[in-house]
């Protein structure tokens, strides 16, 4: 029992929390911006898989790591464009289209991988992002390993939270996105095109999802597996609700889930006589509990999942 509490004070736990949270932060921000414009994007799981593959493959074929992330973003945006075209101008069911994108993108990613990469005994690897060395900052006790020895994309994720918070709350574009998610007719009546806003938001959000996937193959691991996203996309969809569609709360949610995950991993080593599957389950169960506690007060964008058709209401 004492050991279980000791884990809580170890720097390695908290360093792992930020690391595990990074792909979730990208994913939840991506899902959030889509939904703020009124489009549910259940393609997230597949888009992250696609991002993971494209980011890894780009580096494997000789480009540098940042180009890898950029290509993953571009691949995500393309998948987002497909989802947006189906659901926004054509007004198809966002659920069906999103699940279709997930199946399609996951399969396509693995297909391209097998087509291009020769897989031997073990999957080929790349040299991933390394933890940054920020000199004296990284040498600080506890704070150093937790905050100042992460890999570069983690800092990008944190920056993305700040940027999205600012854009949504303080800029005309952010207002247009929020208003499109609340009432696209109001947007049209003010002379702004809600269709363009939605397509743009879904593409931008999907690009973020792609980057979140690429983090898995270019920083967390160094190779690509078809199943490696492992439901992180679905967790992000739930986290958006947990966050009540607000970027800072989304960061909090991602950190909370990552904490459960990092903690259970370490608990497995010190608690005996309990099947490890129970620990694996814990973060998901706790997430559902947190969702129940918080989500009742959540403010859903009023026009979420309502297709906009000109001249109809």
């Amino acid at each position: 029992m004492i050991e279980a509490l000791e884990i809580l004070t170890s720097a390695s736990l908290w360093a792992a929390v930020l690391r595990i949270a990074t792909p979730l932060i990208f994913g939840v921000l991506g899902a959030l911006i889509c939904e703020r414009s009124g489009v549910l994007n259940l393609g997230i799981e597949g888009i992250m898989t696609m991002g993971a593959m494209v980011g890894w493959l780009t580096v494997y074929l000789g480009a540098d790591l940042w180009t890898g992330l950029a290509m993953a973003a571009a691949a995500g945006a393309m998948m987002g464009l497909l989802h947006a075209l189906l659901t926004v101008p054509l007004g198809l069911s966002q659920h069906v289209s999103g699940l279709g994108i997930t199946l399609f993108a996951s399969a396509l990613a693995y297909y391209l991988y097998r087509l291009i990469v020769v897989v031997g005994e073990s999957p080929p690897t790349i040299v991933p992002f390394r933890p940054l060395d920020l000199g004296p900052l990284s040498d600080l006790p506890f704070l150093g390993p937790v905050f100042f020895s992460q890999s570069a994309p983690t800092y990008v994720a944190l920056l993305a939270v700040v940027v999205m918070g600012y854009v949504l709350a303080r800029t005309p574009l952010g207002l247009a996105i929020r208003m499109t998610g609340e009432n696209p007719h109001a947007v049209e009546a003010q002379g702004v095109n809600p269709i363009a806003i939605r397509i743009g938001a879904v593409m931008a959000g999907s690009a973020l999802m792609g980057v979140g996937g690429a983090f898995l193959t270019t920083a967390a691991f160094n190779s690509f597996f078809p199943e490696m996203v492992q439901g992180r996309g679905w967790i992000c969809i739930a986290l958006v609700v947990f966050a009540s569609w607000r970027p800072y709360k989304a960061l909090l949610g991602a950190l909370l889930f990552a904490f459960f995950d990092a903690y259970q991993l370490r608990l497995q080593t010190v608690v005996e006589g309990v099947p490890y599957q129970l620990f694996l389950m814990a973060p998901y169960v706790l997430s559902i509990v947190a969702l129940i506690l918080v989500a009742r007060r959540a403010e859903v964008p009023a026009a979420l999942m309502t297709p906009y058709r000109r001249g109809e209401r």
Binding site: R170, T171, P172, L173, L175, A176, R178, M179, E182, N183, H185, A186, V187, E188, A189, Q190, G191, V192, E299, P301, A302, R310, G311, R313
Partner: protein, 501 residues
């Protein structure tokens, strides 16, 4: 007087329907023009073309001498046209300032100019006498305040021409009068206005000039001072329409009796009695407990105190189905939400309440033939236009949908009828038809509870009238004694000085 706005030869078709047929219209500086017509006459389509929501098939729009490109709201806004839509285009979860600012800045900017926008909004609100709190959430505002925000939105974008689509459809009478006073003042500031309406009294009271649309065509233009409500009604409908009058006759035994009924938080110790062959009118400003009263006598909720009886039996505990079986008919307040299922065909809606009866089902299967024949009978008897039994109900106009609901209820000769706002949103022709049906049911001996916000309607139809204020009911007055002043006092909650009938 120069024309600030000219529409020439506007034609717009939706499939086989010609919504606007070669319509021309002009608006002079500082003028209030009323665009009058029945539902479906093409008023809203015409204004949507002017504002750029739709592109016209033919004709063009000139604002201050410049031709507007078709189908571009942004161009209309920039040319100085503002539109207040009938269904408000506001985002309920955002603040007033957010709603006003959207679209007024370039989208890609590092920072919104919120403080400048706030100052400008407050300045406009001050200048035009439209008080508003920029930080209030839309969802917290009353309907009248929301409309004010809609008007401010247009003024914020420097509108010189304001179009209001049925601005009073959602307002109570005093709010509507205040609105028109404000609009009149706005013309002093150099604005020119068009408002769309099918209410004759407000057109007569508030406009300088009237343009009448019928069946998509411009049929007449009159100076308001040189016309009359009767002439306009005839122009609008295309024939003369008179609302039917109530004939005096003897009333019978009480059918529905409420004594000391309360519904927690909604109705407070109300009593009333509706007799055979009688219409009891309940008047009041919307939101004073009408919804709870309607639910109570529809079988959708029971009283928390007091007794409610239908004939010899208890009514408060009956479910909706048991209530229908006991001979009650309900004409609900919101036709679309509670009256019909718009996606289903007319025949299914016609038998929906009586699907379990032997006439329409056998062994769990719907007797489609019988149901269709019944629907065809209703269409015929109640003059439901534009419908066959297989028409999708949502395609009917408001008036014809209401006739379907009336028909469905009246066909089984009910003992008791709840008519909750039976003519809301209907045009003059349809109102007359609905009134005639209600009076016919009264003559046949039904007891009718009429809930209405329209005083003319209540006085015209009801034998006795009670006012509802904050969940309480006044004592009844007989219609002959109910002049506008007395009813006004009753609706304001001052009925202690009035006598019981």
């Amino acid at each position: 007087m120069t024309a600030v706005l000219e529409l020439t030869g506007i034609t717009k078709r939706f499939g086989a329907l010609t919504a606007n047929d070669d319509v021309s219209l002009s608006l002079a500086q500082g003028e209030i023009l009323a665009l009058l017509g029945e539902n479906g006459a093409g008023k809203t389509t015409l204004m949507n073309i002017l504002f750029g929501h739709y592109a016209a098939d033919a004709g063009d729009v000139r604002v201050f001498g410049q031709t507007l490109p078709p189908g571009r709201p942004r161009a209309a806004i920039e040319a100085g046209v503002g539109m207040v839509h009938q269904h408000f285009t506001l985002a309920a979860n955002l603040s007033v300032l957010d709603n006003v600012m959207l679209g007024s800045e370039r989208l890609v900017r590092l920072r919104s100019g919120r403080s400048a926008a706030r100052a400008k909004l407050l300045d406009i609100s001050d200048r035009f006498g439209l008080p508003v709190d920029p930080d209030a959430r839309i969802s917290r505002l009353s309907v009248g305040e929301r409309q004010r925000v809609e008007i401010l939105k247009a003024l914020y974008r420097d509108a010189r021409i304001l179009i209001l689509d049925e601005p009073t459809a959602v307002l109570a009478r005093p709010e509507a009068e205040r609105l028109f006073a404000t609009l009149r003042e706005m013309t002093q500031e150099g604005l020119s206005l068009i408002f769309i309406s099918h209410k004759l009294h407000e057109v007569m009271a508030a406009s300088d000039r009237v343009a009448v649309l019928r069946g998509g065509k411009m049929v007449a233009e009159r100076r308001t001072a040189e016309t009359s409500a009767n002439e306009l009604a005839e122009l609008m409908v295309g024939r003369s329409v008179v609302r039917p009058k109530r004939e005096a006759h003897a009333i019978g035994a009480p059918v529905v009796v409420a004594s000391g009924v309360s519904v927690a938080g909604k109705l407070d110790d109300i009593s009333f009695a509706v007799h055979e062959g009688e219409i009891l009118g309940i008047v009041g400003v919307s939101g004073n407990g009408q919804a709870a009263l309607g639910a109570l006598v529809s079988g959708l909720g029971g009283p928390t105190a007091g007794t409610l009886r239908l004939g010899d039996g208890d009514m408060g505990s009956l479910s909706a189905r048991a209530l229908i079986d006991a001979g009650a008919a309900r004409i609900p307040e919101d036709r679309h939400a509670e009256g019909v299922v718009g996606e289903l065909p007319v025949w299914e809606n016609a038998v929906l309440e009586r699907l379990r009866s032997k006439a329409f089902s056998r062994g769990g299967f719907v007797r489609r033939g019988a149901a269709r024949a019944h629907a065809a009978g209703l269409i015929d008897r109640f003059d439901i236009r534009g419908a066959v039994p297989d028409t999708r109900t949502g395609l009917l106009s408001g008036g014809n949908m209401q006739k379907l609901i009336l028909g469905r209820n009246l066909a089984s000769s009910p003992r008791f009828i709840l008519a909750n706002q039976p003519t809301r949103g209907l045009d003059e022709g349809a109102i007359a038809a609905v009134h005639a049906e209600l009076l016919a049911a009264r003559a046949a001996g039904a007891a009718i509870l009429l809930i209405s916000e329209e005083l003319e309607e209540a006085v015209g139809l009801a034998d006795r009238i009670q006012a509802i204020v904050k969940g309480r009911l006044s004592r009844p007055v007989v219609a002959e004694d109910a002049d506008a002043r007395r009813l006004g006092l009753m609706m304001a909650g001052m009925w202690e000085s009035t006598d019981a009938a």
